[in-house]
Amino acid sequence: MKPFESLEFAISDAAQGIAAGVVKVAQSRHDVPSALPLEHGLDVFHTVMEAKRVLAQHWRRAEAAWEKAETIARKVAQSKQQGIDARGVAPTARAAWRSAIALFEQVEGQEAAWDRIHAALDLFGPDGQLNDRCRAQAEIGAALEVLSGADWSKVRNFLKERRSLAFLDRMHRRLEQAEPRRSWREGWWLRHRRVRPADLRMSLVQAVACDRELDEEECASYGRVAVVLGDTFRASSAVECMNSVLRMQQSRHRRMTQPMLDLKQLYWNTRSFRCGPRKNVCPYLKLGLQLPTYDFWELLTIDPAQLTQQLSTQGNAE
């Protein structure tokens, strides 16, 4: 990570090796006054994945109990239809239904609690307000009371990590730097937010903020705030996406040499996203790299010396 001198924020899973590496690089920067401080955040991706895994297990159990209750209920109905005394089976059916309903309610409660946590890990709250650490911690703390089982321990540990909400601290710090005036800042993030808040009053305020004409100073201020909001990352979804591609290909190809990985890296870095917020943009373009071409084959056949020259003339040097 040493060559990444502009690096301010590293996101990763809970791997201890990576955390130790980030700490080491951050400490080495302390001694250099001009160096940027380096922070480490725990990505939301793995927390969400683990929570979904546990929830799925609970749902499977609840559905199995429900099916069992239905089977017993059918037996009771059949007995009654055939004129057989069902008094022996009926209490079993009632107990099975009680158990199934209780299990269902329990899982529904857990899902609602997880939804609350998931919302707390977003940049904006459901009411349209910008999220912050205090607010998110309060929401997570309240919801975690429901998720008390042993199988939720991994999720709880992830959420209790301070690094899980590091992205919110960094976002607020950068927003303050981008626009010191609080009222302006709030106006701009209301304007920036695409989704309408659930709260009607906030929705009205947002509509006013969005429709208002901006003067030159306001435009510049809004631009700075929008950059921060658009540049705040919470999850390492992109790297996990790349992992899935590489792992799939490693199992398919008999050999995976470094040149082959280079080839794949170049291809996937020049491939435009087909949908989503990054539609029609390739990773190189998203990073702001000005290239003479973003075509994989053309880049592959270009002379590296010529490419270096073109990159320097196109203002890629910082």
């Binding site: 990570m1 690096l7 301010e8 990352f233 790297v239 995976m256 080839l263 990159l311």
Partner: protein, 178 residues
Amino acid sequence: MVDWITTKCTSPTKDLPMNTLSLRDIVCNAAAVFSRCYGAVTRRAEQAGCSRQTLYHHARQLERQLQPQDNIPVPAEVPSRTLAQVASLDDPTRRRLAVTAFAMGISTRQIEDLLRVILGEDGPDHTTIGRWVADAAKTARPVLETLDAACIPKVSTLAVDEIFFGGDRLWSASSLRA
């Protein structure tokens, strides 16, 4: 008859008569079937040391071969790619297609199959494709070095994973790390 033997020798294995039987034996087998005498097939099968089913099979084969050409039912025409129907791709385009497909994650053998769909028998085999890929992969390194050097100053947020540091996860197919 000579033509029949020649034809049989070049046809698929399932149509070949048993190697241990001579042409005379096959004709005798067929004759036993065509004679329609009670017990002829069984006796002949015992004599020739083969099953009754084989005798009927030989009879059918012989009948098919001796039938006049005009009476042979013409098999339904299977659409086959003639030279004119096959798409033509120049060498650079073939290389581009193969290398891009490999970079996407398709294996060389799969690429071979796909190119055969387009090019017919003229398509390259997987070893040639592997060579093209290796050539392209060698040229990717210097290009990537240049691009990486330009990217590094722009990176302010980095998502890191063990996979990029030679982590200790087990791999199913290879010991190499990405």
